[in-house]
């Protein structure tokens, strides 16, 4: 019986610790996602400043770094490009799976990027550049806030998870 109690308490404590680490991980993934979008838009802005190629060509040419967020975002973008090539009537925003594209971001991050996603490819170069610049500026401040939040809250969530787990263990065993 004692062994069972111990095992249950250990599982509950482990779950609590994992929850804390999961919350910390979400902060890190949000930071990575913002950084990935930021790099994508930097690349896009650089390409659009001198090439006249259609959007799917430009998007498929963007290089992917080894950073963890980039692989996830680039797979979503690749899928959108495939959709655009398969069905020419689809715009970028129609072709993009926004749920997956913004999966690691919070609602306010997605709201900042959505106007750009809707407008990408639909306006002349000056408007595209202005919209991209504005999104990049927003992303820069979002990235700074996310980094700050991660630095402050990551340890807090991990510690709270571990301490909560420990407290739970003691309560259940004691």
């Amino acid at each position: 019986m004692n062994m069972m109690r111990l095992a249950f308490a250990g599982a509950a404590a482990g779950g609590c610790a994992l929850m804390g680490m999961g919350m910390a991980r979400r902060l890190v993934r949000r930071e990575e996602a913002i950084a990935a979008w930021s790099r994508l838009l930097d690349g896009l802005a650089a390409q659009l400043s001198y090439v006249d190629d259609p959007l799917p060509d430009v998007l498929s040419r963007l290089t992917v770094s080894d950073a963890p967020g980039d692989a996830r975002l680039s797979s979503v973008i690749e899928e959108a490009v495939d959709n655009m090539c398969r069905d020419r009537t689809l715009s970028f925003s129609d072709a993009l799976d926004t749920e997956r594209a913004f999966a690691d971001m919070d609602a306010s991050d997605a709201a900042t990027l959505l106007p750009l996603v809707r407008e990408l490819g639909t306006t002349a170069r000056p408007q595209q550049t202005a919209r991209l610049d504005s999104a990049r500026a927003s992303l820069a401040s979002m990235a700074a806030r996310a980094a700050d939040m991660t630095a402050r809250q990551k340890r807090l969530y991990v510690s709270l998870g571990l301490l909560g787990g420990l407290a739970l263990f003691i309560c259940l065993v004691g």
Binding site: D52, P54, R88, T89, S91, T122, A124
Partner: protein, 342 residues
């Protein structure tokens, strides 16, 4: 000069197949309702916000709206905007330069003219937005249409400096395209300076029209600059360009003929007298830089041809024009000095 043969012609794909991917579902349904004969006659599709879409063969509507009411498509403003964006490849920034000319080229050489709100910058049209109507013009190349003109503009296979003129809409561009194709098939190096992307209908640099296997196209380049550039870089045997009209065009033609390239150009004019009165073509006529002048009639029919000294070398007989609507292919045996601009 070798005549064009069926084997040399690039196979033509039905415009419905080429444009299918670009059409909204409702318009696609309308297009699919067309009979094969009607589809072969279609010249353009007109789509306007809040108005029924129209499929035209010249001035006649062929969309059968009277018979099949379910096929009627009245697009909303958003539908037209979305259609326009599809035609622009959802990459308007990339087609802005083309759009400034009023249309964009689609696969197969078909062209889409767009209307909307023009945004000005420094008093000039910079770009367009809020599209409200689309005119989809179906390109229909006529391979072999220059068969009758080729003997008139060559001398034992040597291409001659030629000016083709007619009133607008008589098929000068179609004729130039087939002349390029036939010269290229005859083994000559052909250069086309296609300022308005009408002769070769380039899309992303690739000619959508059959202009022959040894033809280089300088797309969307000013004619005079393009001709000099083409001469310098590609040394063509024949240099072709459309609708000359600026003083520098005449200089470039002069330069080209001095470099040994035969020049085949076109100009708007209803008659030789009108051609003479125009500043640029008048200069060319007075300088006698050209060796052939060819006047086209409706549907690209050759009405009359002159040699470099303005002797008539060919004239369609009134009888053949009335009876068959086509010209007599036999050039007049005698030269008839008829027009001297000097």
């Amino acid at each position: 000069m070798r005549q064009s043969t069926h084997l040399e012609k690039r196979p033509q794909t039905d415009w419905r197949v080429t444009l299918d991917a670009f059409l909204p579902v409702s318009l696609r349904a309308m297009v699919n309702l067309l009979s094969k004969a009607d589809a072969a006659r279609v010249t353009e599709i007109r789509v306007r916000a809040e108005q029924p879409a129209m499929i035209m063969a010249g001035k006649e509507r062929v969309d059968r709206l009277d018979h099949i009411h379910s096929g009627r498509w009245i697009p909303t403003g958003d539908d037209v905007k979305q259609f326009a964006q599809t035609l622009l490849g959802h990459s308007m920034y990339a087609r802005a330069e083309e759009l400034r000319g009023g249309y964009v080229t689609l696969p197969g050489g078909h062209r889409a003219g767009l209307c909307g709100r023009v945004v000005l910058e420094d008093g000039k049209a910079h770009h367009m937005q809020d599209f409200s109507s689309v005119a989809l013009r179906i390109a229909r190349p006529v391979p072999g249409c220059a068969d009758k003109i080729m003997p008139l503009i060559t001398d034992g296979g040597r291409p001659l400096n030629t000016l083709i003129f007619s009133a607008p809409g008589c098929g000068k561009t179609t004729m130039l395209r087939d002349i390029a194709r036939q010269h290229a098939h005859a083994g000559l190096q052909v250069g086309i300076v296609d300022e308005r992307s009408e002769i070769a209908a380039c899309r992303q640099g690739v000619p959508q029209m059959d202009v022959g296997p040894s033809t280089d196209v300088l797309d969307a380049c000013l004619k005079a600059e393009g001709m000099i550039l083409m001469l310098r870089v590609f040394s063509p045997d024949v240099l072709i360009t459309d609708e000359i009209g600026r003083a520098m065009d005449a200089e470039a033609i002069d330069e080209a003929s001095r470099c040994g390239a035969a020049v085949v150009v076109s100009a708007h004019a209803g008659s030789m007298e009108e051609l003479m009165q125009r500043p640029v073509t008048g200069v060319l006529l007075r300088q006698r830089s050209l060796e052939r002048y060819v006047q086209l009639g409706p549907a690209g029919q050759v009405l009359k041809a002159w040699n470099g000294t303005f002797g008539v070398i060919y004239q369609v007989s009134a009888a053949s024009r009335v009876l068959s609507g086509s010209d007599d292919p036999t050039p007049s045996p005698t030269l008839m000095p008829e027009f001297d601009p000097v």
